[in-house]
């Protein structure tokens, strides 16, 4: 799925960096700038909620747009992501054009 996501976004002109899980993402983001963070919820070591909370807690990505892209569709999890500081919520399966439009919208 990550490979498909990369392909869909690079075809739309975005430069994409990917991490295996929340901890790897945090480590990479400590030394790099991005315009948008896209995260899943179910990830090993540090899930999407934890990643959002850690990014919002301070540092260079405190105000960065964060989109959640997930198969989860429950209102409870969506509310939790919103409470943690997510910018938007996208339920898979993803539509490449809608996803790209959302990234452009929150990144400008």
């Amino acid at each position: 799925m990550r490979a498909l996501l990369r392909h869909a976004l690079t075809e739309q002109g975005f430069a994409v960096e990917q991490a295996d899980d929340g901890v790897s993402a945090l480590e990479w983001l400590e030394g790099n700038d991005v315009d948008v963070v896209i995260t899943d919820i179910n990830m090993p070591r540090l899930d999407g909620f934890g990643l959002i909370e850690r990014l919002r807690a301070g540092g260079r990505h405190r105000d960065r747009p964060i989109l959640v892209l997930t198969t989860e569709s429950s209102d409870e999890k969506k509310a939790r992501a919103r409470s943690a500081g997510a910018t938007g919520w996208i339920v898979k399966p993803f539509d490449a054009e809608k996803l790209s439009a959302a990234v452009r919208r929150v990144a400008h």
């Binding site: 799925m1 498909l4 996501l5 392909h7 869909a8 075809e11 739309q12 179910n42 090993p44 989109l67 997930t70 198969t71 989860e72 969506k78 919103r82 997510a86 910018t87 938007g88 919520w89 996208i90 339920v91 898979k92 399966p93 993803f94 539509d95 490449a96 809608k98 996803l99 439009a101 959302a102 919208r105 929150v106």
Partner: protein, 185 residues
């Protein structure tokens, strides 16, 4: 009227649910039986023995050739595998405890592309990447299969069936309520 042979009838205490193409179902109900009929499609059955929960998916194709032009939807294993794993996690399962059964992937028509082989290869690779061991597998060949899986027990039964049992295997139209919609907070 469809006659169900006696050897595949469900006892009165069991509830049988059909996992249709494009679906994934997870259950911890000890009386539940998940069932499906496969041609070139694949059904993946996952089971967590500690939580006694299991699930099955049923996908038509492995992954789109061009994700930039195609919606990654319910027809594709790359989506339905993730749905199944996440459904298991939502029921308290751990990926490190999950065990897999893999069924289907037949090449029913000799003159056509070997979609079944590609589907089975994708599923095996996906499970390997996720570190989920395959404890039983019956894939390939030229015959349709019927799979019955008791998700709370991790028990599966796979039998060859006549090709005319297979439902029409075509990509499903997307539902009106399209997933992939974006909600900005």
């Amino acid at each position: 009227m469809i006659h169900v042979p006696s050897h595949i009838q469900t006892p009165a205490t069991m509830s049988r649910a059909t996992v249709m193409q494009g679906q994934a179902q997870v259950s911890a109900d000890p009386n539940r039986v998940l069932t499906t009929i496969l041609g070139s499609c694949i059904a993946t059955c996952l089971y967590d023995p500690r939580m006694r929960v299991g699930g099955m998916n049923h996908f038509l194709l492995a992954e789109p050739q061009n994700a930039g032009k195609t919606t990654v939807d319910e027809n594709y294993g790359v989506y339905l595998m993730e749905v199944l794993v996440n459904g298991m996690l939502a029921h308290g399962a751990r990926k490190s405890r999950m065990r897999a059964h893999l069924y289907g992937g037949a090449n029913l028509h000799s003159g056509m592309s070997r979609i079944g082989t590609a589907n089975a290869g994708f599923a095996r690779q996906f499970l390997q990447n996720e570190g989920i061991p395959i404890v039983h597998m019956d894939v390939g060949g030229v015959q349709a299969r019927r799979v019955d899986f008791r998700p709370a027990h991790g028990q599966a039964r796979c039998r060859a069936v006549e090709d005319n049992f297979i439902p029409n295997q075509k990509p499903m139209p997307r539902p009106q309520k399209a997933a992939g919609d974006v909600e900005l907070f």
